[in-house]
């Protein structure tokens, strides 16, 4: 045994060394032989000529020997392997039905697993394709209550951070949307802001043009107005035009020059220099730090803590009291993100589905193998050892698995991008750019094929190769081999049922927990709402009163349109689940910690009716109050609880400094505005920082307090399909102001989908699909086994029928041997589900032990009863195997 193993190993090494048949070595050896001989002949006194000829003659043909040795060395294993594979391929061709079913089954398992692996790989395993990503950490702060918060740094402080001893380099980042104008329609662009060293820090090698560097300044620390396009945005918005570099685009109505295009995998739509000079109190900012190689995370944390404590002394208003510095590897952020768990659960489900497909193919192979017992016995009778038969059968399952993997990987390659297109962009980060069947994914697929061939082939191979020649040719022995066979079948069926139950329980639980998320009260009604944004032409309506009137005219005109129930207006804020940003506020008699600053929305009073946000206490301001820009506010329930716990929020006063005066040429503060608001009402919470997080404190003030250069209209229809109203809305706008364009139009439901609902629905769909597939496979597997046993007992059943047995009696007889397997499978499956449930409990994935699965299993059983009763005889089961 060991001898053979060692020899195989040596041959394998020789093969890997590129010397497939040891040809080089044997040639060298023979050459050395000849040289020795010639030398001896010379020593014996021959002339060189004679010595060489004599040696050659003596030794015999060189080429022939090389060939002979090659035959011995290489072919012994390689040749018989290719022979087995060849034979397997032919046997698959000659029984196409079985092969097609098996290959398709495996393709489903391998394809889904590979597709999900490509997602997991791109999103969770290897999402950052830049240098030193493993040493790069996110820098953030934790308040004394443990709430995370961004780090706000000045340009000077960033410089100090970059010089810290544990730090190789650091970059300040921010992210929010900018409006890209200058094309046909204004467009929302997800913008990543980086300090000027950012692109260099990330190692971005532009596919076009260049990146921005620290030289790109306008002097005085203000960065140049330049922009790098992300690869995906370049392809979609600029159709991959090669002459984009040098073009000017309008971002938030400011001209920026396109200087380059980033390669795939850096996210966002555009990359813009972060202006470190501007007031950081408006925007939160993050820091990314690349640690020096070998730096310990806790060492880095303590050094950065000291540094930040110093910064806090310089600018205490930007650091919460008693803060702690938190450093976390980039990948941790990914793995903690809301999309990670659904992805991992889906991948696990796919793996389970793969196991089910393997077991199914095992069952099918075994059933088919029964029809091949004669062939296998003949092979044994003419000298095949068991090992040799196992090898042949394994070669067959390898061929099936490779074909399945080929089809599966092709399916994943073709289907993954298409499936992702169903999702709103950005449901999973970066996937549009980086998900494809890459080298590692391909390797994974091939690995799966090998694993699959073992999983699906080993059990049938071991069972079928059992020595039973004698049994084959003598009727009395057939029963013995049948018993073996039956046992293997029963175990496999039980395994299949168990895994299917586990998969169903898992997907059921996943589906239920996701449904729970989908059923979480939203606090508003997203159905039948059209959301339309309109921007003012640059430099128009520069007077507050004129602009306020114009906006109100637009709103009123839209509201008067037939089929419109209500029309509300919002400045810059948009609609749930993601809207606005936090503003600094001051409340008399208390300090507001940075993490509690509310989101301030500027809306018209009809906004609440349009979105059906319930007013819980007090009132909403009147239209007249709105027109006068009265200093009133409505707060959300969450804000009321956070700011005035146990007290009545109505009548409280709150100061929003940024609403006191116009901060730029684009916004117009109401004359005499001082930023002071009196709370007049409390409304319900709506999601405003995404679907997975509890709503942040928020307040609403009349939009007239500070008018922007664009407005978002939320239009509730009387039941009509919202987008069908778009044309009418446009015409109404046109009637008020010729040339007024709609910048963006979508439904509130779309906004919700883009905010993550679509992703959750997709996962629900995926998991349900897996469950159904597993169920179908279980039915196929059981069906083949039942049919097989029915076919074996056809004569017996015929006699029983002739004697007056009823069909159901026959069905019971046919199923009885399997009933135990199914029962055992159910018990094991439920037990496994309970264990998995305990493991998953801390992830709150839902309950895996559910009577539903039992009902499903019962259905499977019932189906087979019907199949058996109808006397279906399936593919290629030959009841008269043997003589």
């Amino acid at each position: 045994m060991f001898r053979r193993l060692r020899a195989s190993w040596r041959r394998l090494l020789a093969t890997l060394g590129g010397d497939l048949h040891g040809e080089r070595e044997i040639t060298d050896e023979l050459r050395s032989h000849l040289d020795h001989h010639i030398e001896d002949n010379l020593r014996a006194g021959m002339t060189r000529d004679v010595a060489e000829r004599a040696a050659r003659v003596h030794a015999g043909g060189l080429g022939q020997t090389v060939e002979q040795v090659r035959d011995r060395r290489g072919l012994a294993w390689l040749d018989s392997l290719t022979q087995d594979v060849h034979c397997a391929a032919r046997s698959a061709r000659r029984r196409p039905k079985f092969a097609v079913v098996a290959v398709l089954t495996l393709a489903i398992g391998i394809g889904t697993t590979t597709a999900l692996f490509s997602l997991v790989y791109a999103v969770l395993l290897n999402p950052f394709n830049y240098e030193g990503a493993d040493r790069t950490v996110n820098l953030s702060l934790l308040t004394d209550t443990g709430a995370p918060q961004g780090v706000f740094l000045t340009a000077d402080q960033l410089t100090q951070l970059r010089r810290a001893s544990v730090v190789e380099d650091a970059v300040a980042t921010d992210a929010f949307g900018m409006t890209l104008t200058g094309g046909d329609l204004p467009e929302y662009a997800r913008t990543l802001f980086y300090s000027l060293n950012g692109p260099g820090f990330l190692g971005i090698r532009p596919v076009l043009g260049r990146i921005f560097t620290e030289a790109d300044t306008l002097g005085g620390g203000t960065p140049a107005r330049v922009v790098i396009l992300s690869y995906a945005f370049w392809r979609s918005r600029f159709a991959g035009a090669t002459d984009v570099v040098g073009r000017t685009v309008q971002l938030d109505r400011t001209p920026y020059t396109i200087i380059g295009v980033a390669p795939p995998g850096f996210g966002g739509d555009i990359l813009v220099p972060l202006d470190m000079g501007s007031d950081p109190s408006h925007a939160w900012s993050g820091g990314m730090v690349r640690l020096k190689p070998g730096t310990d995370l806790s060492a880095a944390q303590s050094e950065l803590q000291a540094l930040m404590t110093g910064f806090a002394a310089e600018s205490p208003q930007r650091f919460p009291p008693g803060f702690r510095v938190r450093v976390s590897r980039l990948i941790e952020g990914r793995r903690a993100a809301s999309f990670a768990l659904p992805l991992v659960v889906s991948f696990a489900a796919a793996v389970l589905l793969l196991v089910v497909t393997c077991v199914t193919v095992s069952v099918l192979s075994l059933a088919r193998g029964a029809a091949r017992l004669r062939e296998l016995a003949v092979r044994q009778a003419i000298g095949a050892s068991r090992w040799r038969l196992v090898r042949q059968l394994m070669a067959e399952s390898l061929v099936l698995a490779l074909a399945g993997a080929g089809a599966g990987i092709a399916f994943a390659y073709w289907g993954t991008p298409r499936a992702l297109k169903w999702l709103p962009p950005n449901s999973f980060p970066d996937v549009a750019e980086t998900v494809y069947v890459s080298g590692p994914v391909l390797l994974f697929g091939v690995g799966l094929a090998l694993l699959t061939s073992v999983l699906s082939g080993l059990s049938p191979a071991l069972t079928l190769s059992r020595r039973r020649v004698g049994g084959l040719f003598q009727a009395a022995m057939v029963l013995v081999s049948d018993a073996d066979h039956g046992r293997a079948h029963q175990v496999l069926v039980a395994a299949q049922v168990a895994f299917t139950v586990l998969l169903l329980a898992g997907t059921g639980a996943g589906v239920r927990s996701l449904l729970a998320l989908l059923n979480t009260p939203l606090g508003y009604d997203p159905s039948n709402v059209l959301v339309v944004s309109a921007n003012l032409p640059l430099g128009s309506y520069r007077e507050w009163a004129a602009r306020a009137t114009f906006f109100e005219q637009l709103r009123a005109r839209i509201a008067s349109t037939p089929q419109v129930d209500a029309a509300g207006m919002s400045i810059y804020g948009g609609v749930p689940p993601r809207m606005g940003w936090r503003s600094l506020v001051e409340v008399p008699g208390r300090t507001v910690p940075p993490g509690m600053h509310p989101i301030v929305h500027r809306v018209s009073p009809e906004y609440f009716a349009a979105l059906r946000i319930p007013v819980l206490r007090g009132r909403v301001w009147s239209a007249a109050e709105g027109q006068r820009a009265t200093g009133v506010a409505v707060v959300t329930q969450g804000m009321a609880r956070a700011f005035w716990p146990g007290a009545d929020p109505i009548g409280q006063r709150i100061h929003v400094p940024e609403l006191a005066r116009s901060s730029s040429q684009f916004v117009l503060a109401a004359p005499g505005a001082d930023g002071w608001m009196e709370v007049v009402g409390v409304v319900g919470d709506t999601p405003n920082i995404g679907l997975h997080d509890a709503p942040a404190p928020a307040m609403y003030v009349p939009h007239t307090v500070m008018l922007g250069d664009g407005a978002v209209f939320a239009i509730r229809t009387t039941g009509a399909e919202p987008l069908a109203l778009l044309r009418t809305v446009r015409e109404q706008m046109q009637a008020i102001s010729p040339g007024q364009a709609v910048a963006q139009a979508r439904t509130a439901q779309d906004a919700l989908d883009a905010g993550g609902w679509a992703r959750e629905r997709f996962v629900v769909f995926l998991l349900s699909g897996f469950g159904v597939l597993a169920l179908v496979l279980a039915v196929v597997g059981l069906f083949s086994v039942v049919s097989f046993s029915v076919a074996r007992r056809v004569r017996e059943f015929g006699i029983r029928l002739a004697l007056g047995a009823r069909r159901t009696t026959i069905a019971t007889l046919a199923l009885r041997p399997l009933a135990w397997s199914i029962a055992a499978g159910l018990v094991v499956g439920v037990a496994l589900s309970t264990v998995a449930n305990a493991l998953l409990a801390r992830w709150s994935i839902g309950d895996l032990t559910d009577p539903v699965v039992l009902k499903v299993a019962w259905l499977v059983h019932k189906f087979n009863e019907i199949a058996a009763a109808d006397g279906f005889v399936p593919i290629e089961v030959n009841p008269s195997a043997g003589d």
């Binding site: 044997i26 060298d28 050896e29 050395s32 030398e39 015999g60 022939q64 011995r72």
Partner: protein, 111 residues
């Protein structure tokens, strides 16, 4: 059994025995030694020797390594393994038994 098999079997034993007596040896040395021992009645050419050596190596009776020979040439040396030694003992016994049986046939007078 075909003639070639018999010759191969016998040759294998000769090769093993030669290496046992001489210690690690290269193919040429083995060939010369067998020819000498047979009183030059046997001619060992590549075609018989090297397949036999390879077979013995594959079966684990020999291991090989490259080294420099007495006259400073690179050569592949063959060395007996423990299994190889056992094989010689067994084969020798079998051979003796076989020749003894054969001898009884060839000189029936003593039976």
């Amino acid at each position: 059994m075909s003639k070639q098999d018999i010759w191969q079997g016998t040759l294998a034993l000769m090769v093993l025995k030669t290496i046992e007596l001489m210690g690690p040896q290269h193919g040429y040395g083995i060939a010369r030694r067998i020819e000498q021992t047979s009183g030059h009645q046997l001619l060992v050419n590549y075609g018989t020797l090297y397949p036999a050596l390879l077979k013995l190596e594959q079966e684990g009776y020999l291991t090989s390594y490259w080294d420099t020979s007495d006259n400073n040439r690179r050569a592949k040396y063959y060395k007996l393994t423990r299994t190889g030694k056992r094989r010689i003992e067994k084969a020798t016994a079998e051979w003796e038994q076989a020749t003894e049986i054969l001898a009884r046939f060839l000189s029936p007078g003593e039976a």
